[in-house]
Structure formats: structure tokens, C-alpha cells
Symmetry: C2
Subunit: 428 residues, 2 copies
């Protein structure tokens, strides 16, 4: 095991440059820890002239990541370009076919093409590692796949998009509306090129699909994730929730249920005093529950150069030390397909809407909820505006189906003045 381990790094942006820096700065430490020298043979990015804050003079340059992936002088192809398709996918496939292991930070790639890539890797006798793809610097893939390998996992939850959590936290702390914070994030460079990936919940859903594949031994099923973004969360909801002791978080939940695999990524109310409720800004948190371990909670930076490069380096060190595990913890051909249980388990719901300010309006709403079998835990009417009266209802546990039934019944009445806001209340 004294031969150097040679990397080919495609993508020299935030994460790629961070990885190059660690390989250079910590060469001695990495060799002590892994027993091998870790070297970079070649790199690739779009613009060869760009200053990336790190000296690349000693590495070969490839314009084409696919060519890099196949070079004879690399052992690991490190994919840090991003994107579920295009060069990231092509180069990853080329690397596996050429007998290279792959380390990537690309959640979109894994969530969408994970099954095919895992099969390709195993057919080629290679491995794919992707710690950085989920929850940045937190070694959550490792905890789930390895540390908790003796557990039947029962539930995984997570706040895994720092930008959304930043927006939601600052809406409460600064009293600013969603749009103002969206603009702030754009200015600060906190948003992906396609902001829908962040605020639409898609990036976080990619991560959830990866976690649930490992947790439940199922093929990654991104299409099975019920996704709702944070765009419709108003300051009003944040305040009302806070008033009742809750915070609104973009929360992912994955669990096996009798009706199939539950995968939800949606804004939820969580108790303000719970670990998830207290999570501020860009920090991520993942909660893993297993039959033996009960519950563990992992918290840390979900993005950024250092934390993400730290996770990439963890994978590289694992490979240097000879750890070889199937992509999603068990061989790809043994991963189950499980139907998506779209509605999930019953839960209490938060319901906010404006009623027409006329006699009997409240009674009608209450009757509709009663007919749908939904009982009310708390209800509050607060103030009046323009002939409408805002009301807030917290239900006892109910199913999404019952709630949808009530919502469509509301539509048919003439007393509901605005489309109701409904948010699940999650016990965490």
C-alpha cells in the first residue's frame, strides 16, 4: 500500500479548489493517516486562465473532463463540476468504465442516475463515494452506511438546504418578507444558478432521495419525493407559528410505511425548542433513527469550500485506506423498488386562511372539518382586514387525504376568501 493514490479532479470551483488546497496543505497528515501519498495528476475546468487561488502548475490540464476521467495516471476520478447530466454524468460513466473509483459531491447526479451508476460501478468492480453530496461537512453518509450498519433504520429527517434555512431564520429574526430575503441571497451568492433548486426544495429533495436509498435499501427514487418549496411561506405564517411555539423549517422526512416509502421535503412546523427548531442560518441537521440506536442527531455546515472539501477528502482517504462499500450500502442489484407512499403518516396540521366577514363563516369551516373527520386542537381569529377575518387552526392528527377533502370543500363555499395555507406539524 505504499504506492501514491493519484487523483484526477474535474471542476475547480468552490469545492474543487478547496480539495486541491487540502491535498497540498495537508500532504503529510494525509499520508500519515492513510499510509499513502495522495497526489493530483491532472485537473479540468472550463476556463484554463481563471485564477483559482491555488497553484495548479504541477498538474496536467485537460479541457475535456471525459478525457481526464480515462487517463492512465489516475486512480480516482473526483467529479466536482455539478449537474445531473452533461459532463458530470458522461465523465463519471467514462471513469467507471475505465476502471477508476469515483468521488463526487453531486447530489443531483446521484439522486437521479444513482441506480444506473451504482450498477455500472459494481459491474466494473469500482466504487462511488459521495459524502459531500448530502449535508456538506457532516459525515452523514458514513454514519448511516457504516456507523449504523447494525440498525434497521426507521426514519431519517433533515434540514439540508442552508439557503432555505437562512431565509426562514432571517424572516423571523429580521421581520423581512420572503422576496427581500430571496434578493439578499441572490446578492450574497447563496443561490444556485437555477434558484428553484434551492427555494423549490429540489436540492434538498435530491439529498433526501440519497439518504433514503441507503437507509431503507431501496433504489434511489427522486421522483417519489413529495416536494414543496418555501416560496409560499409568508412572514405572517412565520409569526403565527412562532407565537404558538413553533418554527417553520424546510424539513425532509423519509420512512418506510405499510403503504410504501414516505419521502417528503416540505416546509413544516417544528417545536421551536427542538434541535431542528433551533437550527439557525446555513447550518444543516440530520436526524437518524434506528431500532438499536434510537436516535442520533448530526449538525454542521451544509455547504462552503472548507466543509464540502472536508467531506470529499474523507471519501478520498477512505479509498486510500482500502474501504470499498457498495454505493448505497448494499449491492445495487439487491436494492428494492418500493412504491411511494405519497401522503405519509397522519400528523397535526397548521391551517391559515381568511374568511369572508359574514355570519356563520366560522361555523361552516368548522362543519367542513368535522365532516372530513378532522378535529380542532386550537383555533384563533385575529383582527379584520377589508371585510375578511384571518383565522388560524391547529388540527389534531389527521391524514393529508382528509385535509385535501376539507380543502376542496372550502373552495365550494363562499366563505373562504383566500387559498388556505396548510403546513404539516412534525414531531421531531
Amino acid at each position: 500500500m505504499t504506492e501514491p493514490l493519484r487523483l484526477g479532479i474535474a471542476g475547480l470551483g468552490t469545492v474543487g479548489a478547496g480539495v486541491v488546497k487540502i491535498v497540498r496543505k495537508q500532504a503529510k497528515l494525509l499520508e500519515a493517516r492513510t499510509g499513502r501519498r495522495i497526489e493530483i495528476s491532472a485537473v479540468s475546468a472550463r476556463d484554463r486562465q481563471k485564477d483559482r487561488g491555488v497553484n495548479l502548475a504541477n498538474y496536467d490540464w485537460e479541457d475535456d473532463a471525459v478525457v481526464l476521467a480515462k487517463r492512465d495516471d489516475i486512480d480516482i476520478f473526483v467529479e466536482l463540476m455539478g449537474g445531473s447530466d452533461g459532463p458530470a454524468k458522461a465523465a463519471t460513466e467514462a471513469a467507471l468504465a475505465a476502471g477508476k473509483d469515483v468521488v463526487t459531491a453531486n447530489k443531483a447526479l446521484l439522486a437521479i442516475h444513482g441506480q444506473a451508476l451504482a450498477e455500472a460501478a459494481e459491474a466494473a468492480g469500482r466504487v462511488i463515494r459521495f459524502e459531500a453530496a448530502v449535508a456538506g461537512g457532516i459525515p452523514v453518509i458514513k454514519a448511516l452506511t457504516e456507523g449504523l450498519a447494525g440498525n434497521e433504520i426507521t426514519r431519517v429527517m433533515g434540514v439540508m438546504n442552508g439557503t432555505c434555512n437562512y431565509i426562514l431564520t432571517r424572516m423571523e429574526s429580521e421581520g423581512l418578507g420572503y422576496n427581500a430575503l430571496f434578493d439578499e441571497c441572490a446578492r450574497l451568492g447563496f443561490l444556485e444558478a437555477d434558484p428553484q433548486l434551492d427555494v423549490g426544495g429540489i436540492d434538498a429533495a435530491h439529498k433526501l432521495a440519497i439518504l433514503s436509498a441507503i437507509a431503507f435499501g431501496t433504489q434511489p427514487d427522486f421522483d417519489g419525493v413529495e416536494i414543496e418549496g418555501i416560496e409560499r411561506i409568508s412572514l405572517e405564517d412565520i409569526r403565527q407559528a412562532a407565537d404558538m411555539g413553533y418554527r417553520i423549517k424546510l424539513l425532509g422526512v423519509a420512512a418506510r410505511s405499510p403503504r410504501g416509502l414516505v419521502q417528503r421535503m416540505q416546509p413544516c412546523l417544528v417545536p421551536a425548542g427542538s434541535p431542528i427548531g433551533q437550527l439557525e442560518g446555513g447550518t444543516n441537521m440530520v436526524v437518524i433513527e434506528g431500532d438499536a440506536v434510537d436516535q442520533i442527531v448530526l449538525r454542521g455546515p451544509g455547504a462552503g469550500e472548507g466543509p464540502t472539501a472536508s467531506a470529499v477528502m474523507g471519501d478520498i482517504c477512505d479509498l486510500a485506506r482500502g474501504l470499498r462499500i457498495p454505493t448505497f450500502g448494499i449491492p445495487a442489484t439487491q436494492l428494492e423498488t418500493m412504491p411511494a407512499a405519497l401522503t405519509g403518516m397522519p400528523a397535526p396540521y397548521y391551517l391559515r386562511m381568511a374568511l369572508m366577514d359574514k355570519p356563520g363563516a366560522l361555523a361552516k369551516v368548522a362543519a367542513i372539518l368535522g365532516d372530513a373527520g378532522i378535529s380542532i386542537d386550537r383555533m384563533r381569529q385575529y383582527g379584520h382586514t377589508n371585510n375578511t377575518a384571518p383565522i388560524l387552526i391547529v388540527t389534531h392528527k389527521t391524514t393529508r387525504a382528509a385535509l385535501d377533502m376539507a380543502l376542496s370543500a372550502f373552495e365550494k363555499t363562499d366563505v373562504v376568501a383566500s387559498e388556505p395555507v396548510t403546513l404539516r406539524i412534525e414531531e421531531v
Copy 2:
């Protein structure tokens, strides 16, 4: 890799019985995850007749753990007897000498004899794994050794003795004194046979010594840990701390400093709103800081059958999957010896004492602090009892040496009526 992996398990108490249960219950899952059948060849404990809630009929029985450790039909010796010396040490050494890998939950053994055992393991080409030895079900050894292998670790902190945290939490929540809670813990079976291990901070210090060896690449140095138990913490201190927005926790801190390795396990004040401040009951928390990752926080059950067995099984699965890492992350012969920096970095301190109720008493105390170069952040005198006046002082950052100078000056005056309580205030 299709040969079964054969275990010999010595110790069938809380943890050992838990491991046997998981091996039996999750046989299929474990095989899918590791690619190998995991089998038990033989077991050992003191009392062959005892009902352990699990069927042992299919396993050979050995009265002598050393004999078990050397059996030809085992690949891994699983040491779950406990104790830093005696049969645990003898059997572990015998296993390594006989070419077996070792998995243990024994923090005392690793903290005290870790260096010698690591050397023995490496000389024999074998590995020792011990995830369960620190923070129960939390995969913290794995996070530190593997997940964060790309980091230079800067600080490790942890609340790692559930019994102490249970006592301290309940002192505040129930308003009960230390002795009442000690008795409750004894009744509930929360205390080790030698309770000093728990309330004296020794068990937690064992864990800290293990973590700091891995974090800083140093030989485990249990003797270098500055240890203070929780026996002297009074309800009064808990209340005064709470009043100022702090909680008292038995907190371990390890860091490299210019003067050597800091390892402290002592009751500290931490902000009540911080993750560590909010930790309730038997739950453990470990905070790891590294140059790339910044900070990650891991939280989970620190003890109990399921969580501890989960950690043991994680190690067994790692070995089944072929992961082989030096005991403390780098080869034992490369571990540094570093002097203990006994006093640590400056910090603010909490100081409570009773003054004789005579004119000028407070002025004398203030003068002594001033002479020692200690400036006062807050001071409060509250009530009177029997001619004495309790006072509470929070200092600005100061060194332990300056504080000790002030404490010995207090002794020489005639105004201090009780031995002062001093507690470090830790920024977490």
C-alpha cells in the same frame, strides 16, 4: 469475501447480550450490507447458568475469556467484559497475539493501555476497533478518524457521561440536591460498580483521552487529563448559574495549545441556550472542530443496550467489509508524545463564596482579585446567613494560575468564610 465472519464474544452483560441479539435478529440485513455472514462461534461470561434473555444454545461456551480469544474458529474477539486490566486486558492481548482482530467497548482499557495495545495490534497486523467506547451509539470515533480525515482537528469537546448529565439536569429541573440524585442513580442502576468512575469524571476522562489521541495524533494520555468530578456541585450553584443564563455540565475539552496538549474534564458553565447547554438527561454530545469543516456536533444516546450494541456492530461490519485502520488513526509508532498543558487557555470563571459579614470584606476580595490581574465582569451579593454573606463573581477571561493565586490569597485573609467554588465558563 464469502466466508462467514466468526465472532467470539466475551462478556454477556448489557452490551454483550445486546450484540448477540442484533447478530441473531439482523442476520440477513448484516449479510446484505457486508457481503458476509456474521456468525458467533463461542461466548464467555462468568456465570454459565444466568438467563440473558437470548438463546445461547448454538454457541460454544468458554469459562475463560483468554481461551476464547485464542480459538481457531474465531476471526474477531469481541471484548465486552470491561475493566482496564484483568481478563479484558489479558484476553485482548491474547487475541491479538493469536492473530484476531478485536472489537471492544472498553474505554478504560483503551485510555490506559491503548498505546501498548495499538503497538501489539500493528505488530501482529491486526486492528482494534472501539466505537462503543466513546459516546455510546454516536459514531464519533468514525467521524473523527475517517469522516474528518482531511482536517487538522483544532478542538474536541464533549458531554460523555450520561449519569453525570442526568444528575446535573435533574438537580435543576427537580430542585433536588446532589446526594438525593446520587441515591436515585444508584437505585436505577445508572452507576458503575465504582461510582467514582461516573461522578468523579473518570469514565468521561477515559473517553476524552481516546478522542484526543485520535484528534491530535498523540499517544493516549489519560494521566494528562485534568479531572474534576461533579460531587461538589451544589443546588445553589446550579441555581445561580441558571439565573445568569448558564447550565453546569461535566464537559470535556481537548485541544493543542502552544504549551502542550490540553485535556480537561470538569464541571463548567456553558450558555443555557447552546447545544451543549440544552442537553438533557443521559444523552451525550460531542463537538469536533477542524480547520476545513469548522464545527460539527453529534448527539445521541451515550449508553444502554441498544445504542452501545449498535456501535459494536458498526465496528464488526467495518471489519467484515475489510476496513483496516490503525487504532488511533495513524500507526501507533508515529503517535506523538506531547506534554500536558495543565492549565489550559484563559477563560472567564464563576466564583461563589461566603464572606464574613464585616465591613471591608468585599473590598478585600476585590483587591485580591485586582492584585492577581483578574477583572470582574459581574458581582452580586445576595442575602445573609449566620453572619456570612454569600457573593457571586463572574470574572473576565483569566488564567487558572491567576485564579489559584487569588484563591490562596483569600485563604490568608479573615474575611472568606467558606472555601470558594470556582467553575470555568466555557464558550461552546
